[in-house]
């Protein structure tokens, strides 16, 4: 185990305070001013930054700054958040996950009181004081159906640009349901057909009910330790061979290209670290909030070329007996989906690699991918997991 000592250095700092107890700027403007000043101090620019820490939303900050970090940290422990950001950033830099990390803090409780009072005297439109919320100003008024609205927009774009069909998306739901039929705890286990999916009520075109994840209770946990310690414990270790993260927006109207997710970046990094290619993957656990989500992962992780996800899934290769087992637990589409589903990707990947999956076991599985998607196709994080045999 290598010590973190001396592996990373702070190269730029800034702070703002005034004898009046008030600052002229507030909110994102103040954060941006601090970031700029600290970068100037370091002799670096925003273009150099590939890691971001923020005690509320690193994803929201990155969207505001228009940057696409590969290290992201929204740890909030109150006042000690920033020391923890530094600890995490140092470890990430030492491990080669990123090069230049920014952490920022700005709060204006004194001048906020004055602004709140002024707002209450003025026009009836209430101005938000709870932190930046661009979604309220630029998306909520237009009445998307949540949670599938943003994904429906992505599906519409993919269909328009690449000719992907509803039938092809439906095939993903069909294959996933077949896996669910082998999982005693799955919410829905009855087989479905493409016609069943297309006949299910339209939620937000082009997504039908059976294109959409469940709403269920669910829970999970994982325990991780060093490779050395792992070998002395109860179960065969499942090693983290590769990890990669990327985000390029928070809300859907800020997504640079609705047909391509940051999974392109996160998966490339994770696969490179692991020394594997898509063809080496025995089990793919790809976050399936919606059929379109799963389809985008197939393209963005390199299992098929961009735009060809529809044709790729047509032959049912994702299902039991197919050449690319995907979402063998029955997925968010048929197993469970309490809202933040990524935990279940990890649990199932581990169980497959330990050969604990019974009827849904993929024989000889040595390498699995757990690819998590967060917000609205916004934040992707790819784990490549492997058995002892894959690790050597």
């Amino acid at each position: 185990m290598t010590s973190l000592r001396g592996a990373a250095a702070i190269v730029g700092v800034a702070d703002a305070a005034s004898p009046t107890g008030e600052l002229d700027l507030h909110g994102r403007a103040l954060e941006a001013a601090m970031i700029r000043e600290a970068l100037d101090d370091a002799g670096l620019t925003l273009a150099d930054v590939d890691g971001v820490c923020h005690a509320q939303s690193s994803v929201g900050l990155a969207e505001y700054l228009g940057i696409h970090p590969r290290f992201t940290d929204s740890t909030n422990t109150g006042g000690s958040s920033f020391e923890i950001h530094a600890e995490h950033a140092a470890a990430a830099i030492a491990a080669g996950l990123c090069d230049v990390v920014v952490s920022v803090y700005a709060a204006t409780p004194r001048s906020d009181r004055r602004r709140r009072h002024a707002a209450s005297q003025g026009p009836s439109v209430r101005r938000p004081n709870l932190g930046p919320n661009p979604m309220a100003e630029w998306e909520m008024p237009y009445g998307m159906r949540t949670p599938m609205g943003p994904y429906a927009l992505a599906a519409s774009r993919h269909m328009a640009v690449y000719g992907t069909t509803s039938e092809q998306l439906a095939q993903i739901a069909v294959s996933t349901r077949t896996w669910a039929s082998l999982n005693p705890r799955a919410r829905y286990r009855d087989p479905i057909t493409v016609d069943d999916v297309l006949a299910s009520p339209m939620q937000s075109s082009p997504l039908h009910l059976l294109d959409c994840c469940l709403v269920t209770d669910g829970a999970g946990a994982f325990v991780m330790t060093s490779a050395e310690r792992a070998r002395d414990l109860r179960r065969p270790p499942v090693y983290v061979l590769g990890a990669g993260t990327s985000h390029d927006h928070l809300m859907i109207s800020q997504m640079p290209d609705l047909t391509t997710t940051p999974g392109v970046v996160s998966a490339a990094r994770a696969f490179r670290m692991a020394g594997v290619k898509p063809g080496d993957v025995d089990v793919l656990m790809g976050y399936d909030s919606f059929t379109i989500t799963a389809l985008l992962h197939l393209e963005d992780l390199g299992f098929c070329p961009k735009g060809e996800g529809g044709a790729f899934v047509d032959d049912g290769k994702l299902g039991p007996g197919g050449s690319l087992p995907m979402n063998t637990n029955g997925g968010g589409l048929s197993y469970t989906h309490p809202g933040m589903y990524g935990m279940f990707l990890i649990v199932e990947a581990v169980r497959q690699l330990r050969s604990e999956c019974g009827d849904r076991q993929v024989d000889g599985a040595e390498i699995a991918v757990a690819h998590g998607s967060g917000m609205v196709l916004s934040v992707m994080s790819t784990l490549v997991l492997g058995t002892e045999g894959a690790r050597s």
Partner: protein, 142 residues
Amino acid sequence: MSTDSAPRRFEPPITDAAEPFWAATRDERLVLPWCTACERPVWYPREVCPDCLDSALEWRPATGRGVVYACTVVHRPQVPALDPPYVVALVELDEGVRLMSNVVGRPPEQVAVGDRVQVTWEPLSDGRRLPLFVPSEPSQPT
């Protein structure tokens, strides 16, 4: 005020950085913030240009013309914008930025990615107007 049980559109808050945008909507003008250093429009309106972190943003008129980049027909929204069904779309303005809005003036199922659109205005309760879009060309045959 009568007891209005019809669903009302969620009205957007006004952030400081977007004050000029909303003020212009009162006169049915669409304006965009431009970074004078980078010579490019910034969306959504914010205090600084994301590329250069320079605060020199200048508001300029937009033509109001654009194209449907993505669209979905909403039948049962939780907070309706209009009487359902209606279209929620991402509209790519000719200036190069992409806004979320509703496309009206054509049956929802006939709005398609690639349709050319033009801004129109819907009054909000405080005198601001919300930019919506109407098709500016006939439907393409399918």
